[in-house]
């Protein structure tokens, strides 16, 4: 996967929350912890999802997961299982649930919820160490979640 400056620019434009998005508090989980409905109604962009998964200030999935498709991104962690083959193991709804709030699938997991804005203890203002001012924004936007799902779907054994 090549990270071009063109897709990076596209990702910055695409990162604003849209009124038509499903808000974090309105996400409907099914009984298995999946989320059936798209958060944006728009298809995800797998190339952009790859960038988000490998970027520290975004999904930073590689902090905990090894992903062979992102071999050009240095340092992959071992806290979670490798995501190679994730596209074979999970369907779209399951992946959306894992990303929005993985605790709905894996009780007590250390994997953070990427589309959640409440229920935290001592929430901070990003990584400043200061208290959050005003409502939290989710770590990833609705479209970024859909983009990462599209990327995960490409990870086949």
């Amino acid at each position: 996967m090549k990270l071009t400056s063109l897709t990076l620019a596209a990702s910055l434009i695409g990162s604003a929350a849209l009124a038509s998005d499903v808000a974090p508090k309105d996400v409907m989980f099914n009984e298995d912890g999946g989320v059936d409905a798209s958060l944006t109604g728009m298809a995800g962009d797998a190339a952009n999802g790859a960038i988000i998964a490998g970027t520290k200030s975004k999904g930073n999935c590689v902090a905990c997961h090894a992903i062979s498709a992102l071999a050009d991104v240095p340092f992959h962690g071992e806290v979670g299982p490798t995501l190679d083959g994730a596209g074979d193991r999970w369907d779209t709804a399951e992946m959306r649930g894992l990303l929005a709030d993985a605790k709905m699938t894996f009780d007590g997991t250390v994997m953070p919820a990427f589309y959640k804005v409440d229920g935290f203890t001592r929430p901070g203002d990003a990584y400043t160490g200061k208290a959050a001012e005003g409502p939290l924004t989710p770590i990833l936007t609705a479209q970024e979640i859909e983009d990462v799902i599209a990327f995960l779907a490409t990870l086949k054994e």
Binding site: K56, V79, P112, F120, R122, G124, T128, G129, A131
Partner: protein
């Protein structure tokens, strides 16, 4: 990558206990407690094996001068009351944080140092995480190097210890992670470029190659809490004192290693 089976011998003769059976109060959470030294790269490990290579020792020398320096309205130095640091401070670091009967509170070494400065010397308090403080902590800690950490958690210290234990297992911030999530469930694993240790504090204050100075435990706690996207506690606060007592107790049995070297 670190050689996790290596042994730590300082200056060719001071053998450190860097693996010890877990203390009973950990209730089997881990079988063995291990020093953070084990998880560092060969190069970083080596820096701590000889005092001439250990960048933290420069600050110990500076604190030795400070020990004799008169300061404050009472015209006194540490040495005025405690004389020779080598004899008066042996074993002190190993039992801190410690209950202070007169004050009716658990005190860290840094708090005790500032108490002496303020109330015995009539001098200004040092900044809790500042250079003078971490250097003095290091000087005092060196007098206990190789001795087993042995903080008391019962009697009057118990309530503080319980509070620290609660904090250790409480998930904070938008990443919703506790100390235990990283340092109990995942030590030995890589988290991005970092090799997770048990987050022990037997090596503190620690010289970090990253910021080229000594760092005390509260400075490190602050960084770890911040990294969960949380509002941190203040260095020197009663919250961090409680957390320090608890984390120190998890390392009971490991050698006092300060000043240790980390990345």
């Amino acid at each position: 990558m670190a050689d996790e089976s290596a042994d730590l011998v300082v200056n060719g003769d001071l053998k450190m206990v860097i693996r010890a059976p877990a203390p009973a109060h950990l209730d089997g959470a881990v079988d063995e407690v291990t020093s953070g030294w084990i998880y560092r790269s060969d190069e970083t490990q080596e820096l701590q094996m000889d005092d001439f290579d250990n960048p933290g020792m420069i600050f110990v020398d500076q604190a030795l001068e400070q020990w004799d320096a008169v300061d404050g309205t009472e015209g006194k130095a540490c040495a005025s009351c405690h004389e020779d640091v080598e004899s008066s401070m042996t074993g002190v670091r190993a039992v801190y944080p410690k209950w202070n009967e007169a004050a009716g509170e658990v005190r860290t070494l840094a708090h005790q140092i500032n108490d002496c400065r303020e109330n015995q010397m009539g001098a200004e308090k040092w900044k809790y995480t500042g250079g003078k403080m971490t250097a003095m902590e290091a000087l005092i800690s060196v007098q206990s190097r190789g001795m087993p950490v042995n903080v008391a958690i019962d009697g009057p210290a118990q309530a503080t210890w319980e509070k620290g234990k609660d904090m250790y297992y409480t998930r904070t911030g938008q990443l919703d992670l506790s100390c235990a999530n990283c340092h109990e469930e995942n030590y030995g694993n890589m988290i991005r470029a970092d090799h997770l240790s048990q987050g022990q504090i037997n090596g503190f204050p620690v010289y970090r190659l990253k910021n080229t100075k000594l760092n005390n435990a509260h400075a490190r706690f602050k960084g770890c809490v911040r990294d969960t996207r949380a509002e941190t506690y203040k260095p020197g606060s009663s919250d961090f004192v409680a957390l320090e007592l608890y984390v120190a107790s998890r390392g009971n049995g490991l050698s006092v290693e300060a000043p240790s070297v980390r990345n």
